[in-house]
Subunit: 143 residues, 2 copies
DNA sequence: ATGCCAATGAATGTCACTTTCATGATGGCG
DNA sequence: CGCCATCATGAAAGTGACATTCATTGGCAT
């Protein structure tokens, strides 16, 4: 799966006439082996220890590229930071966000999706995408 | 309903030992007679023509007060601005957001709410609040 | 190896808040 | 009514998270 995404990204890059660089390789590796909902800052700090020569701007621009290439998606969970989520083709899910520890869980619910379609149809709305987030305390923080 | 909210706000203010001022009265009036999803900037500009003496900071602080008093709620729809929505007691709704014209519609769906509770329960999650937004083209913009 | 064009990173700019601070109002009290 | 402790206001400065600029570096096709 990591391999598949590297392929997707490489294809995207060559298709756009963009170059392969050490930094991009490192950032992609690090992204793919990270938490599924990482902010620019978090990824930048994670890299900094091993690769102090990679700048914030490069991480920022590279994550944007991932999003354009379709292997990442920008998300906002209300903590003031944009987070980049791993995208697997054809997959969609929603989120449970812990307001205490920041933990993010994913879930899927086909019925909810269908009901959303119905709502949109009844209003003449053409759905492009949606977001559903449930905020509260995770099982761990409830103790 | 406007009257009721003014009462709620007045009570909140006196309970907190805060003062009634011309500016706050004007901002409250303007807020209550506005679109249901207004940003600080929008409300500020709306006021500016008639009351050039009211500063941005005052609008900003007053909207925060409305939120604390429970007559408004802060919302993010991904356009980079915080919007303040009118809150009616005990009412909850979700949103359809037009990505072309910015139009925001509200909807309620009891079944979706229940399914969310089920999802949260199955994960041991204690729900505080949730947000569901459907982005796409409104009936008008589809033409 | 060479040259063109993209990539990098330090620095700077932008935007939407958010806070500060000197000045101006409010309202309880005598 | 007048005093004055507080709160409120608004211009300006500060913040934080991006987003862009620009001089320099570095891929890679030839």
């Amino acid at each position: 799966m990591k391999r598949a995404k590297k392929k997707v990204f490489a294809d995207f890059m060559s298709q756009r006439g963009l170059k392969s660089t050490k930094q991009r390789d490192i950032i992609l590796d690090s992204f793919l082996s990270s938490d599924r909902h990482l902010s620019i800052e978090e990824l930048y700090l994670k890299l900094r220890s091993k690769h102090p020569n990679i700048g914030y701007a490069t991480v920022y621009r590279t994550l944007k590229l991932f999003a354009e290439a379709g292997i990442a998606r920008e998300m906002q969970f209300g903590d003031g930071q944009t987070r980049y989520e791993h995208v697997s083709e054809g997959e969609h899910h929603d989120h449970l966000v812990c307001t205490r520890c920041g933990h993010i869980e994913e879930f899927e619910n086909e019925t909810i999706e269908k009901l959303q379609d119905e709502v949109a149809n009844s209003r003449g709305f053409l759905i492009e995408r949606h977001r559903l987030e449930i905020y509260g305390l995770c099982a761990n923080c409830r103790k």
